[in-house]
């Protein structure tokens, strides 16, 4: 680790100001950033911790029936607080990493990082969430822009994420055996307006919507409806944990399972 300054602002405004410093970087739970610093792969001049900002903490349900999660809320809090209101999301959060990771890692950090194998991106895209920042609101469909790439501008902070609560939903995570991130993860959510299916872990372009499955499931919300459907292995990730064809196959399997398990 190189040395850096540390700021722990108490409000979003202060944090935004602090992030204006050259080479400043936001620190969420540090579960990705701290290991990166330890490996000396990044050298921020100042880390602006978001953990002391009360307005970025906590989970609630809005009047328009969205689960609102403060941008600095740890996964463990979501797992607990959303268990009744949005069990699929809570279940997803409860299977991220290990207890230490869940007690530190945050929704904002996960979405800002947009790891192609992370779980939250699937939940955000699969629910058509709104990512609120200090500057604007970004629809999930516009937010994810490929592996580790997002619509966030420099110094922009995710302050809250609003996940519309579906009628039914489920997240199926097939773990990569070493990291236990998603080798493939599929989030299926059924709304009155239709079904959304978001896939993480599989594509070289990061999280994506499987529109064919969405159409089929919107007509008939059953595993049968997606049985014959296949995603193409083109553009899928191939690595030592599984070739593209395997990942493409898992997308189909997990989508069916998510539909069966949807609650």
């Amino acid at each position: 680790m190189y040395s850096f300054e540390f700021a722990r602002p108490g409000s979003i405004d202060e944090a935004v100001k602090a992030l204006k410093a050259e080479e400043a970087q936001a620190l969420g739970g540090g579960q990705t950033l701290i290991p990166t610093l330890k490996q000396r792969l990044a050298a921020p001049s100042v880390l602006v911790s978001l953990s002391g900002i009360a307005e970025m903490q906590g989970v609630c349900v809005s009047d328009d029936n969205a689960l609102c999660v403060g941008g600095a809320t740890p996964h463990a809090v979501v797992a607990k607080e959303a268990a009744k209101s949005f069990p699929a999301l809570a279940g997803m959060a409860s299977r991220i990493g290990d207890p230490a990771v869940r007690n530190r890692g945050t929704v904002g950090g996960s979405l800002a990082n947009n790891d192609p194998s992370a779980c939250y991106p699937a939940a955000a895209l699969g629910t058509g969430a709104t990512i609120k920042t200090n500057a604007r609101e970004i629809a999930a469909d516009d937010y994810f822009q490929g592996m580790f790439a997002t619509a966030l501008d420099e110094g922009e902070i995710i302050t809250e994420v609003r996940f519309p609560i579906p009628e039914k939903a489920n997240y199926q995570k097939f773990v990569q055996p070493a990291s236990r991130f998603a080798l493939v993860g599929v989030f299926v959510a059924k709304y009155a307006s239709g079904v959304r299916v978001a896939v993480t872990g599989a594509s070289e372009d990061g999280v994506f919507r499987w529109t064919e499955a969405e159409e089929a499931l919107s007509k008939d919300f059953s595993a049968k409806a997606v049985e014959g459907l296949k995603v193409s292995a083109d553009g899928m990730i191939s690595d030592l944990h599984g070739p593209a064809a395997y990942r493409a196959h898992l997308v189909g399997v997990l989508t069916g399972r998510a539909v069966n398990a949807a609650a």
Binding site: Q39, A178, S179, H241, L250
Partner: protein, 787 residues
Amino acid sequence: MPKDSGIGAASKRREDVRFLTGKGKYTDDINLAGQAYVHFLRSDVAHAKIVSVDTSAAAAMPGVVRIFTGDDFSGVGGLPCGWQVTDRNGQPMQEPPHPVLAQGKVRHVGDPIAAVVAESAAQARTAAEAIEVTLDELPPQIDMAAALKDGAPKVHDELTSNLCYDWVFGSDDAAIDAAFSGAAHVTTLDLVNQRLAPNAMEPRVAVGDYNDAAGDSTLYTTSQNPHVIRLLMGAFVLGIPEHKLRVVAPDVGGGFGSKIFHYAEEAFCTFAAKELKRPVKWTASRSEAFMTDAQGRDHVTKIELALDADGKFLGVRTHTMANMGAYLSTFAPSVPTYLHGTLMAGNYTTPAIQVNVKAVFTNTVAVDAYRGAGRPEATYQLERVIDKAAREMGMDPVEIRRKNFITSFPYATPVAVEYDTGNYVATMDKLLEMIDREGFEARRAEAASRGKLRGLGINCYIEACGIAPSALVGQLGARAGLYESATVRVNATGGLVVMTGSHSHGQGHETSFAQVVADMIGIDENMVEIVHGDTANTPMGMGTYGSRSLAVGGSAMVRATEKIIAKAKKIAAHLLEAADTDIELKDGQFTVAGTDRSVAWGDVTLAAYVPHNYPITEIEPGLEETAFYDPNNFTYPAGAYACEVEVDPDTGKVEIKGFAAADDFGNIVNPMIVDGQVHGGIAQGIGQALLEDCRYDETGQILTGSYMDYAMPRADDLPFYQVDHSCQTPCTHNPLGVKGCGEAGAIGSPPAVVNAVVDALQRGGMSHVTHIDMPLTPSRVWAAMQG
């Protein structure tokens, strides 16, 4: 009846109190006054000529004490190899130099180019980034077959090729050809025993110290065998005689073989401390562990089994390529040869066996002994090919094994070893009792109703432990003896300190060794303290590996304690005014046979140190004895293992539903510790079978250089095990009748898992699946199912 103390008792591990309460003292806990820190600048390419190393900018960085490069070690020896294999033509293996810091070339990712010593670890690391290295990249040799091709670029320019040795062992060509030409059936299997990264919980650490007033060097290091390090480093690398060099291996957080070997960092810290006249410390990061700890396995094998029409084994022939990596680690040449070829008879009467091994240099991290070392590779190929043969011949996998079991002992195999004792029928019977094989079909049907494919894998194993008779291993090329030592020091008030050359790094020696000695005297275990790990206060020993500590080190303790008892009897005889031949020792009491006249252990020990009333003209005062024990054979633990799995046909994911191990370890000193050793071994074996895979890309970059990609087994990957060691055929040649249990689990379990998965797929109708290479990851199993 289980005992509550002494040999056979499940005494709680006394060392766990300090480990579990954070009071262990590991090498990294050692910080010496004035200590400096070293950071190694390591090659980030696999193979290159070093054009230049410019340290001038780095040397001027804050805190830098001195920067060393390969040139600083030109007058110093290289890291020695402790075993010389002779090839099929009677020629010695090719043995390249292994400098402490790279000279001229780098040969694997992680090869150290320079070492920065600074006031802090962070300063050392920062300065290392300022070193300018110019490398001229050379084509890396990663794949063994490619590295053996004529004209392949050489890892070591001074050698004639990348072939370390081509070794043939066992039956002659005529015998093996006859076996195969007379066979009714031949089963052939090509398989890979993949490379593993050892991953001891504690990474390696070294602290070098030098006392310039006395001219003494001290090395604190994470070692399984401090005396071996003292000898190798002192005699071969740095030229320091043993009396001027102390090596201390304090609490060590796991080794699994990887901490047997003498590493460059140890020599560096000792050397630099002397140069700089201040202590120098190095603590490996986990990333460094992945690129510098000697790795395990990495064999590519073709095995053929010849059978008669009834399923009797007629011959076994194997061809293996064994990866040595870029340099010869301390015992690397012995692993694919004498720790592997000698086990190819397994538990069976196969009359003709021929083993061929080609050891190959590649631009990868060195490979050496890792839990089981050669024996898992032997067991895996043999037990897999037997399973395949049974299926091809329509025979039951248990019956085909039973048909071929060795049943009379001693048994001399065609591969040079003589099994002293064993009972393979008993362990197989025990295993079948444990696993309810009759109920399998019902379990399979129930699993099928849930859409899962269930399979059962059964196999045997044998290993050679208690390493080893020095004269024998000397003939086989070992450059060391493999005895063990113990000094038993009895104190005036009756307590004992046993100083041993064995080293404990998780095995529970401090408990089980105390049980042995206390039992012999008949005193409380808590009166015995075990001291190990410091060459300054223990007799020369060879350390801990090869499941040898109890069989060899424990035997040395028995011999030393026998001497103690003999002397104590003389003292007791004097006190009791009787002949020493009439004295009996029981429950810590010396009695004149046939009388009620006795003296207590404590009276005798006090007399030894306060010799007022003492046979001073006959014996010396004091009560302290040393013994060295050199075994006259290996020990041969053996057993039968079973694994039951369910495979998810949609994803290829394997779930282990049950695992049973019936082991024959001979006599048991502490059954709880034995259970623990077997549990840990099975966890590592299942890790290999399902998860672990140390991989390089074609350029020699380590693809699995962190836990993000290297899959270690975790608790929820593992089932509850059934383990049994009630089948006991005591070792015939050591005084405790023990065989060793440290590696069995890791040796016996991989074939059980793979046999079970293949069985599941076969029963599921996929008759094309006859083998899947480890690790059986979901994607590999799924791909195999697709055909």
